[in-house]
């Protein structure tokens, strides 16, 4: 990545495809899409463009759910979906393409069934994998437009870079709590995600939706904006969000718009890199390897902690979740309830520094940050409960809820 970005690969504009190459509409199509056909901006030609179009959606979660429903309903001929997740009960609050009947099944199967129910003529391609540097170009290459509905920084930079290399428009959306962002990247010479954010934040500084929560309807609004932009790109009509960042604040119901520019100093994107490394993500899911990293505190899974307690270990159990989470579920072993931000800010009061401490949150992320802060404050024996209260409840307390 050495040459200046002025040498960017021009993105391919799907709306420039010749009319002769587009599929014809049959009588069934004409009846089905009559409300589109009478719009000047769509008409017969536009509907044929949609029928001949292909869209890849990365992720079938909060953003992917509504946008896939609408793209299928609108008559997009071919839809690809990348996801490897299973439908979970806690997804149903916002992931409206899935339902109670598909909990426990692969999201791809659940999404395909719903898409085909809406539009049996839609060709649905499934990619039950994690998008990675070694498969992204092959997966993205056949599609006209990519819609980014992911939930993590490594995949967002990967999707962006792959789209830039292949010249594909990338329809961006992102959400957090009550706030959403949307834009169109790499379209008709416009900016891309790296022009907006050259580098990702270090891991841990930005909470995830699993940690911070998200209003269920928020991804519906942002996902529908992404679907709108996708259709406009396919039709070549209207003014897209290219060059603009849309901010949506659901709590105060405000839309704001900021200018986005191509950064002339940004390096050109010419190859894919190691995005986990770029984003500083260390995989702690493999427990054995996690112990190798010297963080000054121990990361132990629920079984290990359970066994140690059974053998007489008596740590001071600190629940660092927020008060409204304690109302949902709490464990009788917890002696101190103090939100992690407060633990980080002012420690544990007069608790002696040599007292063994066990920190617990919802799934282990916030408590690890509190653990690092306690180690820095001088505590000598700190353990983080990996998996948090949800892991504990799943393993040992079937009588309590998870959330």
């Amino acid at each position: 990545m050495t040459s200046p970005q002025t040498e960017r690969t021009p993105s391919i504009d799907p709306a420039t495809r010749s009319v002769d190459s587009l599929p014809e509409l049959d009588h069934g199509d004409i009846a089905r899409y009559s409300r589109h056909l009478i719009l000047d901006e769509v008409g017969l030609e536009g509907q044929r463009r949609l029928k001949g179009a292909s869209v890849l959606c990365v992720g079938t979660g909060g953003l992917g759910s509504p946008l896939l429903l609408y793209l299928a309903a609108a008559g997009v001929g071919r839809i690809g979906i990348v996801d490897f997740d299973i439908v979970d009960e806690s997804n149903l609050q916002r992931q409206v393409i899935h339902g109670a009947s598909t909990v426990g099944k692969p999201k791809l199967d659940s999404a395909r069934a719903r898409i085909l129910d809406i539009n049996p003529k839609c060709r649905v391609d499934l990619y039950p994998v994690a998008l990675k540097a070694d498969n992204a170009l092959d997966i993205i290459a056949p599609y006209d437009v990519v819609v980014d509905g992911t939930d993590n920084f490594p995949t967002r930079y990967l999707v962006n870079d792959a789209c830039c290399i292949l010249g594909k428009p990338n329809v961006y959306g992102s959400i957090f709590k009550f706030e959403g962002q949307a834009s169109v990247f790499n379209y008709r010479g416009g900016p891309n995600y790296r022009d907006l954010y050259p580098e990702p934040p270090p891991p841990g500084l930005v909470p995830s939706c699993a940690e911070g929560g998200v209003l269920g309807i928020l991804p519906g609004v942002i996902g529908c904006i992404q679907a709108t932009e996708t259709i406009k790109i396919l039709l070549g009509k209207g003014t897209t969000l290219s060059g603009r960042l849309l901010l949506y604040d659901a709590l105060n119901l405000k839309f704001r718009e900021l200018k986005l520019r191509v950064d002339p100093t940004a390096p050109a994107i010419t190859e894919l890199i190691d995005y986990e490394q770029f984003c500083g993500v260390v995989d702690i899911s493999e427990g054995a390897e996690a112990d190798v990293v010297d963080e000054g505190f121990a990361r132990q899974d629920v079984q290990t902690v359970h066994d140690r307690l059974a053998q007489g270990w008596k740590p001071l159990w600190v629940d660092v979740r927020k008060p409204h989470e304690w109302d949902i579920v709490k464990l009788e072993q917890a002696e101190i309830f103090k939100p992690h931000a407060e633990v980080i800010a002012d420690g544990l009061g007069d608790v002696p520094l040599d007292r063994p401490i066990l920190l617990q949150c919802k799934s282990g992320g916030r408590s690890a940050k509190a653990a690092a802060a306690l180690v820095a404050a001088g505590f000598s024996d700190v353990t983080n409960l990996e998996g948090g209260i949800n892991g504990w409840v799943k393993a040992f307390r079937a009588d309590l809820p998870t959330y």
């Binding site: 953003l63 997740d85 957090f176 930005v206």
Partner: protein, 94 residues
């Protein structure tokens, strides 16, 4: 010069949940310094260890990214100017 700063959801924990904070400052830089002086928890989210604005946090004056203003963070502010902090957020799938 009193100006207002829009605080994103992700950083409101450090401003006592306020979505908008009024600060004094003659330039963008001075206003941000006033902001992090009043709300010290924001400092490490906005600046790196050398005091530079972090690359994953964008600051806008009106609707312009200050990185693309000729005077950058030294751009003078008019009374009533609006600054917006826009951090990168990743949520969407899970």
């Amino acid at each position: 010069m009193q100006v207002s700063v829009h605080i994103p959801t992700a950083l409101r924990a450090f401003t006592g949940r306020q979505a908008r904070v009024e600060v004094e400052g003659e330039t963008v830089e001075a206003a941000l310094t006033a902001l992090t002086t009043t709300h010290s928890g924001l400092h490490k989210h906005l600046r790196d260890s050398e005091g530079r604005l972090r690359s994953f946090v964008n600051v806008y004056l009106g609707d312009e990214d200050i990185r693309f203003l000729p005077e950058g963070a030294q751009t003078p502010l008019a009374a009533g100017a609006e600054l917006t902090i826009v951090p990168s957020i990743a949520g969407g799938r899970s």
